[in-house]
Amino acid sequence: MPSLWDHYSVANAYDEMRSSDNLARPSSSRLSHYLNSLDGNALEARKTAAEMAILEMGITFTVYSDEGNIDRAWPFDIIPRIIEYKEWRHVETGLKQRLKALNCFIDDMYNDQTFMKEGLIPSEIITSSKNFIPECVGMHPKHGVWANICGTDLVRDIDGTFFVLEDNLRVPSGVSYMIENRVITKRVFPELLQDLNVLPVDGYPAHLLDMLVSIAPAGTHRPRIAVLTPGIYNSAYFEHAYLAQQMGAELVEGDDLVVKDDDYVYMRTINGLEKVDVIYRRIDDQFLDPEVFRKDSMLGAKGILRAWKAGKLALANAPGSGVADDKVVYSYVPEMIRYYLNESPILPNVETYLCSNPEHLDYVLKHLAELVVKPANESGGYGMLVGPHSTAAEISKFHKIIQENPRNYIAQPTLALSTCPTLCDNKLEPRHIDLRPFILQGDSSFVTAGGLTRVALQRGSLVVNSSQGGGSKDTWIINTET
């Protein structure tokens, strides 16, 4: 009997569902088998049902260049990605370890700077970082934690090892889509989820709320919590609203907030001004407070940094956390883990060449065609070069711009990102994926069960960002041993 999998090719990458001889991996055998019981048309019908659900639920993201069309439906592939529970526990421990070390590092950089003084990182990397905020020097946020919410991007190499690609410590997004993806899957494959031991993902907002409560200024009883959004035109507005709703927090914009002379933050309500204790801000540092940062910012609230420094407001993430969200600083994380925690790193970094280092720069310039080059400070997949997929003209352009500002670039080998079966025109084909779990740290640490799997929908493409034509998948952590 012909199988759906007969023509599936697993060459040149680790496939999440099929082994190199095209057999189902143990954690995926039920799913593989089940999918085989559906024909291409039945799969397409489920896909249509998923698209309808996405439209009706209004799961959207915004693309700035789409004139007149604020929302775009969230691109979703119905075939889930599966990770075995035991393996996941290992990754989870590694992620907690990593965020703890990063927070020790940030606290150190704004205080004693011992890591720097002991020569473990060159001081110019910090002093030249546009994310180092002098106003934060001397601060100690509660629990010593600056980055309370982190989205870490993981990829698997050809042998299946998970590597950390980057840590997003500023305003990482995507967690609401992780939760909504599961809601859609439950509608599309209800019979399948029932029989499998898949860990739930919808507990995240409750953990987020607990974490935000745990960082409230000392002495606040039942803290008032708000999510600060740049507004309805922001690409992640859906997520801001979703999280506020799920936590029962207020969704505020900069205009709604006032910082009075007593350094407390208030919001404008129908009763007049009411105090706010904790703000989960989804606005970048530079727009947060026109009193201190960009004067032209219309998004933030004047005086919010003053309130934070006076200890009358908790901000998550703390201003200045971005100092560790830098692809150059990234390369020092394994050393941070050894230094601050006295542990060995559980999750490896991807080998990284720093263009600020003359030897590395020399190597990078000679091997551009094989490397991925990234700006140290951008997110969203903008401004990067994927050497093997680029033209000679693009490569020579990067040759030039890297030399103009070497500090701003890093390079990494082009990884053969793992693949996962993805529905393309009635057929399952391998497409490259990554994974963004979300880690919380307040008085304790929490990691989502899995995370947001992003998929590059173009054949062979390695770019998974939704703003660049990527999609997403539901991620299942399955315990096969119970």
Binding site: E56, M57, G58, V227, I232, Y242, D255, R268, I270
Partner: protein, 312 residues
């Protein structure tokens, strides 16, 4: 609650109510047109007059044919008063109020929006149009019904109800404006003969026909219908009833003293006014006056709760 959220909920309710009322008005007007013999005074153009949209219409279309008028009032995105525009504004308001309402509320509005957006071709012929308007009316009722079973009686709901009641009162006065044609001195004999059937349509457009029959037990005539729809205390779409509701919801909100006074004044005016034997122009002026007071009420709601107070 945040002033911003209060304002969005208030507008959400106004736009959903406006969507429903537009659907009702158009359905009834269509019925009325089909009942009338050819060549009567009532025309599609008059519908543009009631909705106050003649100016925009003539910028976009040549003549007020049935097709043009209906497309303009239902599906035209360039007409801010079209049913689809109201629905789009409602959707935008609820999209940005999702932290205040259960998910299903958003989905109900979003589904209606998607349905209308995907079915605008239905508007071109009568049977499709009837179907679409019916679907929208029911969709709005599902939304209102859902809220009554799923929202706590808190400030959020008070703002939703304020928005709904003020919009309702306003629409009732606009629909009664049809009456000024029915009462025109120079109306034809044929029109005089059809008078009571025309008033039945007016009642039906507000779902008031049965309640009127039950509670007034008169034969249908203009004075009674006007009296019923302007100042019945119990019928939900009667203007006085809407004012009483505004008073009740206002009392549940903070800083409500000023609005309380002006609503009382409006209530007394409605109870004291004389509507018997009105001429069309008297009626029109009266309705205009009520609409202006409703506008004042809106401004007062805005300045009391929505406008960011600048003192720090």
């Amino acid at each position: 609650m945040l002033s911003r959220s209060a304002e969005r909920l208030y507008w959400l309710a106004r736009y959903v109510e406006r969507t429903e009322n537009t659907a009702r008005l158009l359905s009834v007007y269509m019925n009325l047109m089909f009942d009338l013999p050819m060549g009567m005074e009532l025309s599609w153009r008059y519908l543009l007059n009631i909705t106050g949209s003649e100016n925009i219409f003539y910028k976009l279309y040549e003549s007020p044919t049935e097709q043009n008028t209906m497309h303009f009032l239902i599906a035209e995105t360039r007409n801010p008063g079209s049913l689809f525009s109201s629905l789009s504004y409602a959707r935008e308001s609820i999209r940005t109020s999702r932290d205040e309402m259960p998910d299903e509320a958003w989905q109900l509005v979003n589904e209606m929006y998607l349905y209308t957006k995907n079915n605008t071709d239905l508007v071109s012929e009568r049977s499709g149009r009837v179907l679409l308007l019916q679907e929208i009316t029911q969709g709005c009722q599902r939304f209102t019904g859902f809220l009554s079973g799923a929202m706590s009686h808190d400030h959020a709901l008070s703002f939703i109800r304020l928005g709904r009641s003020i919009e309702r009162a306003d629409m009732t006065t606009r629909i009664l404006d049809i009456g000024s044609v029915l009462l025109a001195e120079d109306r034809s004999d044929q029109m005089r003969e059809l008078e009571s059937s025309l008033w039945i349509h007016v009642l039906k457009s507000l779902s008031a026909f049965l309640m009127y029959r039950k509670h007034r037990r008169h034969r249908i005539n203009s004075d009674d219908v006007l009296d019923y729809l302007l100042r019945d205390k119990d019928f939900p779409r009667a203007v006085l009833h809407c004012i009483n509701e505004l008073q009740a919801y206002n009392n549940q909100l903070p800083n409500s003293e000023e609005l309380k006074k002006s609503l009382k004044k409006l209530e007394l005016f409605l109870m004291d006014m004389n509507i018997e034997q009105s001429t069309p122009s008297q009626l029109h002026d009266l309705l205009d006056y009520i609409q202006a007071r409703l506008g004042d009420t809106h401004n007062q709601i805005e300045s009391t709760w929505f406008l960011p107070k600048l003192e720090t």
